[in-house]
């Protein structure tokens, strides 16, 4: 379970309506500047030659073990522009000339925003035979459903925002509930991934267990979320915007637990065996990524092949084990490409408490796909999160 961002739109991201051309021009000019600031790769037109494609994606997809086979098979070169956060992905897409990207990796909840911008093409599920090997919840994943029995994108990887903890200090029993974080021994020992969305959504699940729509809550429930968060504030010792900060805090025992999840994959992999993670009984948030074909791609055939390639078990077995992220694969046949140790580490082993299913499937059942605030503007959620941070711990 890795801390990562796929942000909600800001309050200012309102529909613009018709805009004067000059404003658009200035906007585009500004966007150019902004893009340069943000490190947007400037592609040359010649890069659109046959056998080349460009992908807008989260880190990890560009790593050699993931893309090498596709490039060799198709005798092509894939260029990547990586982003951190769904909001940044939308900005990079909106601020780039049409046709810049052939394929897009999007967080599932941002697919609706891409479709609203007519940025991606619907796909025929039958074009992706690998879907048959997917976990049922990802074979037909509601956030990706398109009209006419089509899909907007194909899931590529996912993971959880559960509890990662040091087993020296937190028992398995304690990790079963979010409320254990209030225990006096954890004062100043909780590390948070510094982003409002997963933290507030997990708080939403803590106050309303197993709610399948923790983002779609009333103002009264949001007030309860705020209260829960404020109660948690004295327990927080670290806010980190990077996973590495959380990993360091856990290794050095400056923090004993983090509601970020998946840290144990990195930690155990690095020889720190005294870490574990789980999804508390109240549930946790699950993030999911999916591959889509850009509507204005000039190389749709290759883009489609790439999406199909990304649905394969072999590539997903590498994708979820990259330097960028540790995650889980929706294609359940990934285990064929892992050794026993990896399979166990990634939780693709039988769950003794739920005969007939794997541990990762139990975690999927207990978690809820990440979404965006529904009844309130995300600005209101960010303000609560800021208030929580500035409230004296």
């Amino acid at each position: 379970m890795t801390g990562r961002k796929g942000k909600g739109s800001t309050a200012s991201s309102t529909p613009s309506g018709s805009k004067a051309t000059r404003r658009r021009f200035l906007g585009a000019a500004a966007a150019g500047g902004v893009s340069a600031w943000s490190g947007l790769t400037i592609f040359s037109r010649s890069a659109h030659a046959a056998g080349r494609m460009r992908v807008l994606c989260w880190p990890g997809y560009e790593e050699k073990p993931v893309i090498e086979e596709f490039e060799q098979k198709n005798d092509c070169k894939v260029e990547f522009k990586t982003y951190i956060g769904g909001e940044q992905m939308l900005q990079f897409y909106a601020q780039s000339p049409k046709g810049t990207f052939d394929a897009i990796i999007s967080d599932a909840e941002y697919v609706q925003k891409l479709t609203a911008q007519k940025a991606i093409d619907p796909l025929k599920a039958s074009d992706f035979p690998n879907l048959a090997d997917y976990h049922p919840k990802y074979r037909d994943f509601p956030p990706l459903r398109a009209p006419d029995n089509k899909i907007w994108a194909v899931p590529t990887r996912f993971s959880f925002y559960g509890l990662s903890y040091n087993t020296k200090y937190m028992s398995e029993e304690e990790a079963k509930t979010w409320n254990s974080l209030f225990l006096p021994k954890y004062k100043g020992k909780v590390a948070l991934f510094d982003w409002y969305l997963p933290n507030m959504s997990n708080a939403s699940l803590a106050v309303k267990p197993n709610n399948q729509t923790p983002y779609d809550i009333s103002d009264a429930d949001l007030a309860k979320v705020k209260e829960w968060l404020f109660k948690l504030r004295p327990q927080i010792g670290v806010f980190s915007e990077q996973n590495q900060g959380l990993v360091n805090a856990l290794i050095n025992e400056d923090a004993w637990v983090t509601p970020t999840g998946d840290m144990e994959i990195t930690l155990i992999g690095a020889g720190h065996k005294n870490f574990a993670s789980t999804v508390p009984d109240e549930g946790s948030i699950r993030w999911s990524e999916a591959a889509a074909v850009a509507a204005d791609s000039k190389n749709k055939e290759l883009a489609l092949k790439w999406v199909e390639y990304m649905s394969g078990a072999r590539v997903q077995s590498e994708l979820v084990y990259t330097k960028g992220f540790k995650a889980r694969a929706p294609n359940m046949k990934v285990t064929e490409f892992w050794n026993e140790e990896q399979t166990k580490l990634m939780s693709y082993v039988p769950d003794p408490k739920h005969p007939g299913q794997m541990l990762v499937e139990t975690l999927i059942d207990k978690s809820v796909p990440r979404g965006l605030p529904v009844k309130q503007p995300d600005k209101a959620w960010i303000a609560i999160y800021n208030e929580f941070k500035t409230s004296k711990g």
Partner: protein, 314 residues
């Protein structure tokens, strides 16, 4: 005589005019280059930041506008909700105390270099003092993490020496933030202070000693007053840099490290965190303008104090 004077005046006059023109060109270049540099790398980005603060984000695109929305929204969150004022107070507290301790550490080092070390060793000692500046700031902060962590070198060393009960909670506090900042600032402050202290006329110190002043009195009545401008410039410089720094607060301060004001994030860290959450560049620019404004006020305060010191000394 007159006839003889005329041919003399002609050849001498021409080189003078040429020399004056050359000097004027040199002056123009001397003024123009730094001016162009300042306009390109300071004024223009600053103006862009100011203008950007009035723009908006629509459909995930930055749209030019002349709107006060960002500032009004920030004003609404200044003392309530996001509580930016509290974060600004935390930043001011950390910045001012960092500046104080940084100067407190660096000034004696400079005095030692100037007055204790042989003059022939000054350059070497200055180089050694500045050496940390050649390493990466981020790398230095990560090194401090290793030192200050709960199971870090400091606490492990104490435990190894038999002081198991003497363990310090340093990392993820504003003390750690200050340590990182002081390490970052020290080389610069040492150079600034060295220039000030090395230029104090030693005859004045000798005169004080000849008139019966003790070493302490000579320091207090001569060296310290004559270092005042340098001390104030260093302090305001350190405070300004500390106020705007993000990395030390994030990596050593843990995002919201504890201080006497409580576990409150620094304003710079809040700006970063908000940008990461919303990717709203115009609003971030407006927040950054507040940061710049406070920095300008600090600079003005420092300059006014330095000026007053000069007048007092005069």
């Amino acid at each position: 005589m007159v006839a003889a004077d005329v041919p003399q005046s002609i050849p001498t006059g021409v080189p003078e005019a040429a020399a004056t023109a050359g000097l004027n060109s040199l002056k123009a270049v001397g003024i123009g280059v730094p001016l162009l540099y300042s306009l390109t790398f300071f004024a223009a980005p600053l103006v862009f930041l100011v203008v950007l603060g009035f723009w908006l984000v629509e459909d995930f695109q930055v749209v030019p506008a002349l709107s006060l929305d960002n500032y009004l929204d920030i004003a609404e969150h200044m003392f309530a909700k996001s509580n930016y004022a509290l974060a600004i107070a935390q930043s001011l507290w950390v910045a001012l105390t960092t500046a104080f301790f940084a100067v407190l550490v660096c000034y004696p080092m400079v005095l030692a270099i100037v007055y204790v070390a042989p003059r022939s060793r000054h350059r070497l000692l200055l180089m050694l003092a500045v050496a940390p500046f050649w390493s990466s700031y981020v790398l230095r902060l990560f090194s401090w993490q290793i030192l200050l962590a709960n199971k870090g070198i400091v606490n492990s060393g104490l435990a190894w020496a038999g002081f198991e009960n003497l363990q310090f909670k340093l990392l993820y506090t504003q003390i750690a933030t200050r340590i990182g900042l002081i390490h970052y600032l020290a080389p610069i402050l040492i150079v600034v202070l060295y220039v000030t202290v090395a230029n104090i006329d030693r005859h004045l110190i000798q005169a004080a000693r000849d008139l019966g002043a003790t070493r302490w009195q000579a320091f207090r009545r001569v060296i310290l007053p004559m270092s005042r401008t340098g001390l104030l410039v260093s302090t305001s410089f350190a405070a300004i840099v500390s106020f705007g720094d993000v990395l030390s607060g994030a990596l050593l301060g843990g995002g919201a490290g504890a201080s006497v004001l409580g576990s409150v994030p620094l304003f710079s860290n809040m700006i970063m965190s908000e940008y990461a959450s919303s990717t709203n560049l115009p609003r971030t620019a407006a927040l950054a303008m507040i940061l710049v404004l406070v920095m300008v006020l600090m600079l003005a305060g420092g300059a006014a104090l330095a000026e007053r010191t000069k007048v007092d000394a005069g």
